[in-house]
């Protein structure tokens, strides 16, 4: 084990290694900040370039990109209310109000710190878990998946801001959207209206970009504001980032919880970072003594979101490295990169290529460090974006959104979908429908259905499988509790007010 670590260190700390990690990181930062492009799209662009390179060095490039993009995404989330990647969505909720108050630097500082430390945290857990990773992953069979997802759905809908009924409606619509198209499990095609485009279902990125980015551009345009920041921007030595750094330690429990949630959710294949950052955010609200301050620029919200979304990479590495099963889309591309370089992913990876695994771990850690450090250095410059006239910001958002959405899979109609959801998102925000349940419903809906039907197939059609296994039963009880508890709480509260 020790020589694997040492060998990995030598690769990383070589001139070439450091160069490639940093290059990848910068690339990830830039692409992450551009809405729609980030994450997986950036990685794919690298695949052809790295063929023929020394595999170790190529891997550093990849983890460099992976380490840079979550923080990059938070930059646009905080400054423009447009999450650069789906995993940064919750950062907007409090990061952007902070920017409007002139505290963008502080928010960026929080993000940089929480991102980097969150990643470290998850990587440490990853190393600790590896010996028992197989058992953990094997313990999650379809009934467990279904119950976990049900629980997640219930929690997020419950704690969504505003009217709970609207939260349910939002979530319901999200789930329905995920069901459009060909269903892997039942073999049926739903709501395709005869088109091949809808046969494949609606992708996350167009919906996401529409609902968050395009609707924001619409909002800015309609509100006729001059600049994003409404008060004079604080420009201290580091642009206020140091304040942000301190905030993370002030909310250290939120940070630890967020990192833990991110790591755990990252381990579950298919669910990933989007759910992680929302779940961490809503958990922070639930456990806070002043829940009404969230969404108004409470730094704790940014801590919660940003610690979770970087932590997901450490978690996603677990099934990737242990079984060769990608824990996230980026991991799937990483696996493809392995094969391209003649490495065989799968159970043998830990035995035969432990040094490579360590290169991934150390590279990811280093890349996060570089991204956050760069973030601190650039804060003064970045913060000025909030003072730029809105007439440049709006079209930039629209152009980047459309280009980014198209870049995802070269499908022109995705752009139209994004435009339509821009309108829908605008309507939802204007009339009090929370956006989070829509996205969560979409992400989890199809997986929930799949797990449900799979569970039945595994059990030869018997429903008892949900009730005879320990984990599903526990989760079911928790779900029911979380559904009914708030009713009683709310009644007690209003009675108390009167």
């Amino acid at each position: 084990m020790l020589d694997a670590i040492l060998s990995a260190l030598t690769v990383l700390l070589s001139a070439k290694g450091l160069l490639f990690v940093s290059l990848g990181c910068i690339w990830g930062l830039i692409l992450g900040a551009l809405p729609g492009v980030g994450g997986p799209t950036g990685l794919i662009l690298f695949l052809p370039i790295t063929f023929g390179m020394d595999p170790n060095v190529a891997m550093l490039l990849y983890v460099g990109v992976m380490g840079g993009s979550p923080f990059g995404g938070s930059i646009s989330a905080i400054l423009l209310n447009v999450p650069g990647t789906p995993i940064n969505a919750a950062t907007c909720f409090d990061g952007y109000p902070m920017a409007r108050r002139g505290e963008a630097g502080k928010a960026l500082g929080i993000s940089a710190t929480a991102s980097c430390l969150g990643a470290f945290f998850s990587l440490i857990i990853l190393v600790g878990i590896l010996p028992i990773a197989r058992t953990i992953i094997l313990a999650f069979t379809p009934p467990e998946f279904f119950m976990v997802i049900l629980f997640g759905l219930a929690t997020v809908v419950m704690t969504s801001r505003g009217n709970m009924i609207k939260g349910f409606i939002s979530g319901g619509i999200g789930i329905i959207l995920s069901l459009v198209g060909f269903c892997n499990v039942t073999g049926g095609v739903r709501y395709s209206l005869g088109t091949e485009y809808l046969w494949d279902g609606i992708e996350l990125v167009p919906i996401f970009i529409g609902v968050f980015a395009v609707s924001e551009a619409l909002r800015l345009a309609v509100s006729k504001r001059e600049t994003i920041s409404e008060e004079s921007v604080v420009i201290t030595k580091l642009g206020g980032a140091w304040e942000g750094f301190k905030e993370v330690f002030r909310y250290k429990w939120t940070f630890i919880r967020g990192s833990a949630i991110g790591t755990i959710i990252g381990i579950i294949p298919g669910v990933g970072g989007v759910v992680a950052n929302f779940l961490s955010y809503t958990t922070a609200i639930q456990l806070s003594k002043h829940p009404e301050t969230f969404g108004q620029g409470n730094p704790e919200g940014v801590v919660a979101s940003e610690s979770a979304n970087n932590a997901k990479d450490g978690g996603a590495l677990v099934p990737t490295v242990v079984f060769g099963i990608p824990g996230s889309l980026e991991m799937a591309i990483l696996l493809g990169a392995f094969i391209l370089h003649g490495l065989v992913p799968g159970p043998a990876m830990l035995k035969d290529h432990l040094d490579l695994v360590w290169i991934l771990i150390l590279g990811l850690a280093f890349s996060n460090l570089v991204a956050s450090s760069l973030g601190f250095l650039l804060v003064r410059f970045l913060v000025r974006i909030t003072t730029v006239s809105v007439s440049y910001i709006i079209p930039t958002i629209v152009v980047l959104s459309f280009t980014g959405v198209f870049a995802m899979r070269l499908e022109l109609w995705d752009i139209l979908v994004a435009a339509i959801f821009g309108l829908v998102g605008y309507g939802m925000r204007r009339h009090g429908f929370p956006l989070v349940p829509l996205v969560i419903g979409y992400v989890l809906g199809a997986i929930a259905e799949k797990s449900f039907h799979q569970s039945l197939m595994v059990a030869y059609g018997s429903y008892s499988i949900f009730f005879t296994r320990p984990i599903p039963v526990i989760l079911l009880v928790l779900t029911v509790l979380s559904l009914f508890l708030p009713f009683f709480l709310s009644k007690h509260q209003s009675k108390g007010d009167k």
């Binding site: 794919i44 695949l47 052809p48 063929f51 023929g52 992953i137 094997l138 999650f140 069979t141 379809p142 060909f182 892997n184 499990v185 039942t186 073999g187 091949e196 046969w199 494949d200 294949p269 298919g270 099934p319 079984f323 060769g324 099963i325 990608p326 799937a332 591309i333 990483l334 696996l335 493809g336 990169a337 094969i339 391209l340 370089h341 003649g342 490495l343 065989v344 799968g346 159970p347 043998a348 899979r409 070269l410 799949k450 039907h453 799979q454 197939m457 595994v458 030869y460």
Partner: protein, 324 residues
Amino acid sequence: MKKFKVLNLIVCLLVLLGLNEMNPIPAQAEDYPNKPIVWVVPYGPGGGFDVIARAIAPVMQEYLPRKANIIIKNIDGAGGRRGVTWVYKAKPDGYTFGYTNIPGQLVYGLVNKVDYDFSKVEWIGNVSSEPVAIYASTASGIKTFEDMMKTPKLKFGSGGKGSGEDINARFADAILDLKASVVTGYAGSHEVILGLIRGDAHLIAITISSGYQYVSSGDLKPILVMGGKKRDPVLPDTPVGIEKGYKDLAAGMLYRAVFAPPGTPGERTNILSTALSKAMQDPRITKWSKDSDRQVGPVMTNKELKEAIDEIIVGYSKYKELFR
């Protein structure tokens, strides 16, 4: 003032039109290829088809006149049909070619309406072909072919209706009369195998190389090789369908075939064919294939490929109702 505005706009338009003009029509055949050629992979990046293409392309382009570039383009969707249709409808000028999964896209076309017709395409070659095999998870306790035939209430795992494992599983189930059920919906063959190890199902029918690494790790056991007429050298101890009396199973192969749109001129497809077969035999690719456990080859002539595909059509047509 008004004239100035209009003029400005026109100038702008012309400048950008100029920039947009990037498709000069090739003059003579000897000029081919004089710009990058696109290899369309009808699946997402990182998958089985994708990585083989990405490994071969850089080597293949060295064997092209003027060392023209080959660019991989992923057009994912509709189980591979979107990419295949794209290539089928592309301009037949030799600058676009693509992959297809036989029997996958072929079988789907037997019973459903599709926008492509494989009898009309220009075949370029076969990148990889190998037999499909049935693996059982060690957790299931099934160790031999006889064990499998004796076990009641068998379950296959498969990656979703219409996927390779699904077609293979139903095909095998029908011929062997296993009366098995199929647990489907997994996102890919790796997830199916994970499901098998967990105990969701007992069997999976995939290409030999896809499952082979799990044999060495002790998670899977090869039970029966479906395709081919004799035992496979990679699995010498595993019986092949035909020796157990199930000759219909011999069609259980996977071909990753490469084709160009109908009407592509013969000289151009020949250039591509030659470059492809040379690349496949290049020592760098042989080494890569060994290192990464990916099957490349054998090199087939177009005639051999056509015959093999016809055999597959015949073999699967008998059971085509299974795949509706």
